[in-house]
């Protein structure tokens, strides 16, 4: 209704119609008021298939305004298909500024990673979630999982983690590792590596989760306790990497394995491309970084 009228067909700002935005906004407010609880919402069809982040896109479309600066990452990278197309989508339908720099963004939409750089107050992290229900693979019936959440009956989840220990000697869950929010709701952090779980705890940013196909929205407000489930004798631990990033030499970051040849050659590089680039710009070098300095920023880099 506010779209410029110089062309014939125009979408509303940020694609969604206003009534849909109101419905999603109401769900977001309830989600913030009940941290970790999955609020049902009337998910819409989006111009992309389920599994490509329709939940996250609907959440972002409902909160974004003309002054926002958007960053989109897919497995930590700004330059993969999903991230590039969602960023282009919002440039087209909302004319917002985009960036690859975590610090410059007001909204970060993510698929399966949390940026390495700690988020700040006022930033919003929007997760794309495939299966929002942490108990779904243990109990397929929604009526039952809803009752389990209502009664705070999470014994089954501990049994699952215990079976890991019985079989493998340690908790073998490495991603979508269940967390308890503010001591009440058990929540699926989306398929982030468990390496990122500690970043959710007492984060300074607001975290919103959207599951389009499953039609659920949930949230973690800033400064909220997010504890990974564990046992006294098997405390929660994150992955450790033996070597630093091959490009920037960074330690204590999450690394991706890259196959170099068919002779078993491989390298480990930062999964968070922005973090890696910023370290290389600051002069850090890994053993495979080469002599010519850092590769030029990816084509869409920088605030536009």
């Amino acid at each position: 209704m506010n779209a410029p009228s110089d062309t014939i067909a125009q979408y509303n700002f940020a694609y969604l119609d206003e009534q849909t935005k109101r419905m999603i906004r109401r769900a977001i407010l309830k989600a913030i008021a009940i941290p970790g609880y999955q609020v049902p919402f009337a998910s819409r069809e989006m111009p992309m298939p389920y599994g490509w982040g329709t939940g996250g896109v609907q959440v972002t479309a409902s909160i974004i305004g003309p002054d926002d600066v958007l960053k989109v990452i897919d497995q930590g990278a700004d330059d993969t298909t999903n991230a590039v197309s969602i960023r282009a989508f919002f440039q087209k339908v909302a004319h917002v500024a985009v960036t690859t720099h975590t610090a410059d963004a007001t909204i970060v939409q993510t698929r399966h990673r949390i940026p390495e750089e700690p988020l700040k107050e006022g930033q919003v992290l929007v997760y794309q979630v495939p299966i929002p229900e942490p108990l779904r693979f243990l109990e397929p019936r929604e009526t039952e999982t809803r009752k389990m959440h209502a009664l705070e009956e999470y014994g089954l989840m501990h049994v699952k983690l215990y079976e890991d220990i019985a079989q493998h000697g340690h908790i073998a869950t490495t991603f979508a590792y269940p967390v308890k929010v503010e001591g009440r709701y058990v929540m699926d952090p989306s398929p982030t590596p468990k390496f990122d779980n500690p970043k959710m705890h007492m984060s300074r940013a607001l975290q919103l989760f959207g599951a389009g196909r499953e039609k659920r929205i949930y949230a973690v407000p800033p400064h909220t306790r997010v504890e990974s489930l564990d046992f006294e004798d098997h405390p929660f631990e994150v992955q450790r990497f033996d070597e630093p990033c091959a490009l920037c030499g960074g330690m204590d970051v999450y690394l991706d394995e890259v196959i170099l040849d068919d002779q078993g050659g491989r390298m480990f590089v930062c999964s968070d491309t922005d973090h890696c680039e910023e370290r290389r710009d600051a002069g850090h070098r890994g053993h495979l970084a080469g002599e010519d300095g850092p590769p030029s920023s990816i084509s869409e880099g920088g605030t536009q």
């Binding site: 209704m1 206003e18 109101r22 906004r25 407010l29 989600a31 913030i32 009664l151 503010e182 973690v220």
Partner: protein
């Protein structure tokens, strides 16, 4: 025809962007209880509905959300007509049916337990209270703790419903059921989600 023009005029100048700006203010207020936020609330509703409360109504209410008006707002017929024209929201017959509650006379508000609390399975099916207050400062100080608050937050709104600290403790005890409150005044808006605890200086729950 003066009555009709009162009902029709005074909505958002720019519905899409004004609603987005108002929503972000409400969202940040709920995410960080006790902090005061301002949205663009360029509404001119009939008194005693305030521009800020009307801005929240235009942002969040539509035909899916029955609203309940407190007696002070209901006494002025133009308020109901204005909300009906601009939002399409039906008026709830009883407080318990309403998704949004608009209150102009906070001191004489009926007990919080009269509003929809949600169910244990669906705690989101609860009411949001939009409370018009004269000021967010100068009243009895509420010391706040809970999600969204780093250590402690302070807010001194007035006037507030009678025995508010005790009523709020009961609301908190019903968690995950319960209502959420958005406080609106000329200074902006602040919120008390159901997770927020009111504590006195020693950190004990206020009774």
């Amino acid at each position: 025809m003066a009555f009709d023009s009162i009902a029709i005029e005074g909505g958002f100048k720019n519905p899409v962007f004004d609603a987005q700006s108002m929503f972000r203010a409400v969202m940040q207020a709920l995410a960080e209880p006790g902090t005061v936020h301002r949205g663009i609330a360029l509404t001119r509703p009939p008194a005693p509905l305030t521009p800020e409360a009307a801005g929240v109504a235009l942002t969040l209410c539509d035909q899916d959300t029955p609203v309940w008006l407190d007696p002070a707002l209901r006494a002025e017929e133009a308020v109901g007509t204005w909300l009906a024209f601009h939002t399409g929201a039906p008026l709830a017959n009883t407080p318990a049916d309403a998704h949004f509650i608009f209150v102009a006379d906070a001191e004489n508000l009926i007990g919080l337990e009269n509003f929809a609390q949600g169910t244990q399975e669906y705690p989101d099916r609860s009411a949001t209270l939009v409370l018009q207050v004269k000021s967010l400062t100068g009243g009895a100080e509420l010391v706040l703790e809970g999600p969204g608050i780093e250590s402690r937050a302070r807010l001194s709104p007035h006037p507030m419903p009678r025995h508010f600290a005790r009523q709020w403790a009961q609301n908190r005890a019903r968690f995950p059921r319960g209502i959420d409150i958005v406080l609106v005044s000329r200074e902006g808006l602040a919120a008390l989600p159901r997770t927020t605890r009111i504590v006195n200086q020693e950190g004990e729950p206020c009774m």
